[in-house]
């Protein structure tokens, strides 16, 4: 089975490639035919010939790169088995961000089929803004390992949101600046704040606006989310402001009243990481699986073999092997920097006055 899987999905300089279907999955460079798991800029890149993805992912790519981000597109309906060349593919919810999907690739008929699942990024934690992850039984499970160390066990997100709200109560004269990835994390934080009963406006950095509007148009309740105008900043005492991670230490953030710097990320679990970023209120809210969920997911797929695309590969591969599951790291460089593209967006969005200040 292993050798057959290795033929079904190979590693090329552009990323994972399926020769029988002649397509790449989340290619790192422009290719002729791409299947895309989700809209984060490290997985969904500009300039492919043909892109197949969920309706939401295609919409997100259009928002980020413009309508002409690819020559042609094809909407993947969740759960629908579609033939591509000599294989079939199925998109299944991954629970990572709106529209995110795992991609199931299957070849062969009765008794001799081989099924691979490319998880993309995924999580099992609560998220009111996207469909939950669904485990898929398979022969080979291709997983990420962003938080693939046993020190990463994400806390209950409600406790983290409560921490933010408690700080807002204790420091009503200060603005709370929350760094969050513009796609997914930002909207999840907004939705969680609403669930916790927070009904004040949640102020947004300009770079958050279009994607937040898109989430709202998909029927996700986020409440009132005005965009921060440069002139408003000094008056936003006691406000919660959400901005891209790159902006929390930026000139832009200085104009708020005595800002409290918060950052919503799984990395905030490690103190040195939080300190390094100058974060004063770390919020451990992640859109990736923690260690327990990675292990649980691997077991649930009943895969005989696990390939680890990126992240803390060594620990997860060690864990698999110690449980008799064949495993190998793929060392795919280029994934894991969801922030990269967004930093540029934040920059592009800053008004000239802000860039000057």
């Amino acid at each position: 089975m292993a050798s057959r899987a290795a033929d079904l999905l190979t590693l090329t300089p552009q990323g994972l490639y399926c020769p029988a279907g002649d397509f790449h999955v989340d290619p790192l460079r422009p290719v002729e035919r791409a299947l895309v798991t989700h809209g984060h800029s490290d997985h969904a890149r500009f300039g492919h010939g043909h892109v197949m993805a969920t309706r939401e992912t295609l919409a997100i790519m259009a928002i980020r790169y413009g309508e002409d981000f690819a020559r042609s597109t094809q909407e993947a309906v969740l759960g629908e088995v579609v033939r591509v060349g000599d294989v079939t593919v199925t998109f299944v919810p991954a629970g990572h961000v709106l529209g995110s999907a795992q991609i199931v690739i299957e070849q062969g008929g009765h008794g001799s089929s081989c099924r691979l699942v490319v998880s993309g990024d995924y999580k099992r934690g609560r998220d009111p803004t996207c469909l939950p992850y669904e485990p898929v039984a398979c022969d080979v499970f291709i997983t990420e390992a962003t938080f693939g160390l046993p020190v990463f066990r994400h806390p209950d997100v409600r406790d983290e949101v409560a921490k933010l709200l408690q700080s807002v109560r204790l420091f009503p004269e200060r603005a709370h600046i929350v760094g969050a990835y513009a796609l997914g994390k930002a909207q999840r934080v907004m939705a969680l704040l609403r669930e916790a009963g927070y009904d004040e406006p949640i102020w947004l950095h300009g770079a958050m606006e279009r994607l937040t509007d898109y989430y709202r148009s998909e029927g996700i309740a986020l409440g009132e989310t005005p965009k921060v105008a440069a002139a408003d900043r000094a008056s936003l005492k006691g406000a919660i402001v959400i901005c891209p991670p790159s902006s929390i230490q930026d000139v832009w953030a200085r104009r708020f009243p005595d800002p409290v710097t918060a950052f919503a990320s799984g990395w905030m679990r490690v103190r040195a990481r939080a300190r390094q970023k100058g974060v004063e209120l770390p919020l451990v809210i992640s859109d990736h699986c923690d260690w327990d969920d990675l292990c649980r997911s691997i077991l649930e797929t009943q895969a005989e073999e696990v390939w680890v695309t990126h992240g803390q590969e060594d620990a997860l591969v060690h864990w698999c092997r110690s449980r008799g599951i064949r495993a190998k790291p793929l060392h795919l460089l280029g994934y894991g920097d969801e922030e990269a593209g967004e930093a540029d967006e934040a920059l592009a969005d800053a008004t000239p006055a802000e860039a000057e200040a």
């Binding site: 998220d127 100058g278 077991l299 009943q302």
Partner: protein, 603 residues
């Protein structure tokens, strides 16, 4: 314990002093006795546990974790206690079958009876409504140990019982709780809160109670400080200090500015040298059993007796002295550089005691033979002090002399040249004058008017900015730490060599300009550090003020500045006209001391 953990977690990330006080005060206000009292004890360093050692914790962690995963995790996290706190796994009390029904069955598989290891079971996300009670995944039972139970246990449990006790606490706490517990046990509770700050927060609970009022009663108190909280909250009497050798908050001076002298009459004041040492308070008294208790406190009330056994044994009196720690060799006061060498040593060795003999040069007497003298005028205290020092006849304790003067001009002359004004060879250890009103009582804190400090003018040098680094805390978005250099002759003509680093001395408005300069003139980036453009015809000149200079093998330039700060930004001055390294060498050659911070003897 969880509340305490939440507090120290939050405070540890908070850079602002006032916000720290608010967080602490909020905790003290909303946490019942005796929990808050033990928290106060932990924050002020009043807790030590005899048997609880880091080794126990490592042993426990090893029993429960895969060594490869532990090593990878430790390498990633960088801190052993934190790694253990994060990796620790409580045994799952749920029977293995309890969750098989709850776990989502894999899509399109024939067999959903997959048997998963119990230790990996976890409630899936959709089972949300009542799912928070699940144990093991950050949902510890609400009844984790109280801080008071932990303190009690760590204090009284025997060596053999400790591992099981600690393990049971770790099982019951969440990540932050475990981290706090481990930090408490290993004595590494460093979260940027001084004892003084914690006491300030306690004082803020009361009406009209100053931090110094808390300081006054502090040494008579013991955890969990029920009487202290009762007093600040207006429910009880002021606790009586029963410590025979308590710390008393020192009186501090304001810097005097040139224009102040017009309002001050020289006849109202006495003058003393301002010594470039370390301010100490030396206290001795008899306890209830007639035993003499001797203590040396730092200016902030820390008991530093252990570092100065040679001075402690000289405290043969009943009272409280205010003075300066100096190193005196062969009757001569050594410079601060030499004192620094003693202060840098972690442990006290007999060799160090002979090589760097500690000396106390006293200038005030707060208490004598049970009588509090602080209300008495300076002149009267001074007379009693002179008598006491003469009576002691102790070579390690002497009197800080007064400087005779009739007018401010006289004093200015003395300050400009202490060696000819009576200080003789001790002049190198003098950093200015102190002015004290003859009638001034000894008042805690920094009252404006009775005492002034008139510091020697700092040294100045014009240097060129070479690198800038982001600051910390509130200034983390600014390039606010500047490395600057002076010219020297290099292989291929004049070159700049870094001579120091400064991160204050400028106003907020100047910081904005400096920050903009850095951003607009960056030539290279190294992580948080930026190199800026510099050279004979480009670059920014900074006028740097500093208090002294010493040789340093660790610095490329061979010298290290003491207390450097930005005095002025010379936007006008061409970088080529900044000072040469020789200017610093000249200052150095005036001082006699060859300084080897690495501890070796001079050549």
């Amino acid at each position: 314990m969880n509340r305490f953990a939440g507090l120290i977690d939050r405070v540890g990330y908070e850079p602002r002093r006032n916000a720290k006080i608010r967080l602490l005060a909020d905790y003290f206000r909303t946490t019942p006795d005796p929990e808050r009292g033990f928290a106060l004890a932990a924050l002020t360093g009043a807790l030590t546990f005899r048997h609880a050692k880091p080794g126990i914790i490592r042993g426990l962690a090893m029993e429960r974790t895969d060594p490869v995963l532990f090593r990878l995790s430790r390498d990633y996290v960088g801190d052993t206690s934190e790694t253990i706190a994060l990796i620790w796994r409580a045994p799952d009390p749920r029977p293995p079958h309890a969750e098989a029904a709850a776990a989502g069955s894999p899509r399109s598989t024939a067999d959903d009876g997959a048997s998963f290891e119990a230790s990996l079971r976890e409630a899936p996300q959709d089972e949300d409504a009542g799912g928070r009670a699940a144990i093991g995944h950050n949902h510890p039972p609400a009844d984790g140990p109280l801080l008071s139970e932990v303190v009690e246990g760590l204090t009284h449990a025997g060596k053999a019982e400790l591992p099981a006790l600690i393990a049971s606490w770790l099982d019951a706490l969440d990540e932050t709780g475990r981290w706090a517990l481990l930090k408490l046990i290993t004595g590494e509770l460093r979260i940027g809160v001084s004892a003084r700050l914690a006491k300030t927060a306690v004082a803020s609970l009361g009406e009209g109670i100053a931090p110094d009022d808390v300081e006054q009663v502090w040494h008579g108190l013991a955890p969990p400080y029920l009487d202290l909280f009762a007093w600040v909250e207006g429910r009880g009497e002021r606790p009586e200090s029963i410590d025979p050798a308590p710390f008393r908050p020192p009186m501090l001076a304001h810097p005097v500015e040139d224009e102040d002298f017009a309002k001050l009459d020289a006849a109202d004041f006495r003058a003393e040298w301002k010594w470039d040492g370390i301010r100490l308070q030396a206290v001795a008294g008899r306890d209830g059993d007639g035993e003499t208790v001797r203590r040396i406190y730092s200016r902030t009330g820390e008991d530093v007796s252990a570092a100065f056994p040679d001075l402690v044994e000289a405290l043969d009196f009943d009272g409280a002295l205010d003075g300066e720690l100096l190193i005196v060799r062969e009757g001569r006061v050594e410079s601060f550089n030499v004192l620094q060498q003693r202060l840098n040593r972690k442990t006290v060795t007999p060799k160090m005691l002979t090589e760097f003999p500690a000396h106390l040069r006293v200038y005030d007497l707060l208490v004598l033979d049970g009588e509090d003298l602080r209300e008495r005028p300076y002149d009267e205290r001074r007379r009693l002090l002179e008598d006491l020092v003469a009576r002691l006849g102790e070579p390690r304790i002497d009197l800080s002399p007064q400087i005779p003067f009739a007018s401010w001009d006289d004093l200015a002359a003395a300050r400009a040249d202490p060696a000819s004004a009576g200080a003789g060879p001790d002049a190198d250890a003098i950093e200015g004058c102190m002015l004290k009103r003859a009638d001034s009582p000894y008042l805690p804190g920094r009252p404006k008017g009775p005492w002034w400090k008139w510091k020697r003018d700092p040294y100045l040098v014009d240097a060129v900015m070479m690198y800038a680094q982001r600051g910390s805390g509130k200034r983390s978005s600014f390039y606010s730490d500047y490395t600057f250099g002076c010219w020297r002759d290099g292989e291929s003509g004049p070159e700049l060599v870094p001579v120091g680093k400064a991160y204050f001395g400028f106003t907020d408005a100047e910081l904005l300009k400096l920050d903009r300069f850095v951003r607009n003139h960056t030539t290279q980036r190294f992580g948080p550090v930026r190199e800026v453009a510099y050279g004979p015809d480009r670059g920014l000149v900074l006028e740097v003020a500093f208090e002294g200079i010493q040789r340093s093998a660790r610095h490329k330039s061979g010298v290290a500045m003491r207390f450097p700060r930005i005095n002025r930004i010379r936007w006008d001055k061409p970088a080529g006209e900044a000072d040469r390294l020789d200017a610093l060498e000249r200052i150095l050659s005036k001082g006699e001391t060859e300084m080897h911070p690495t501890g070796g003897a001079g050549p």
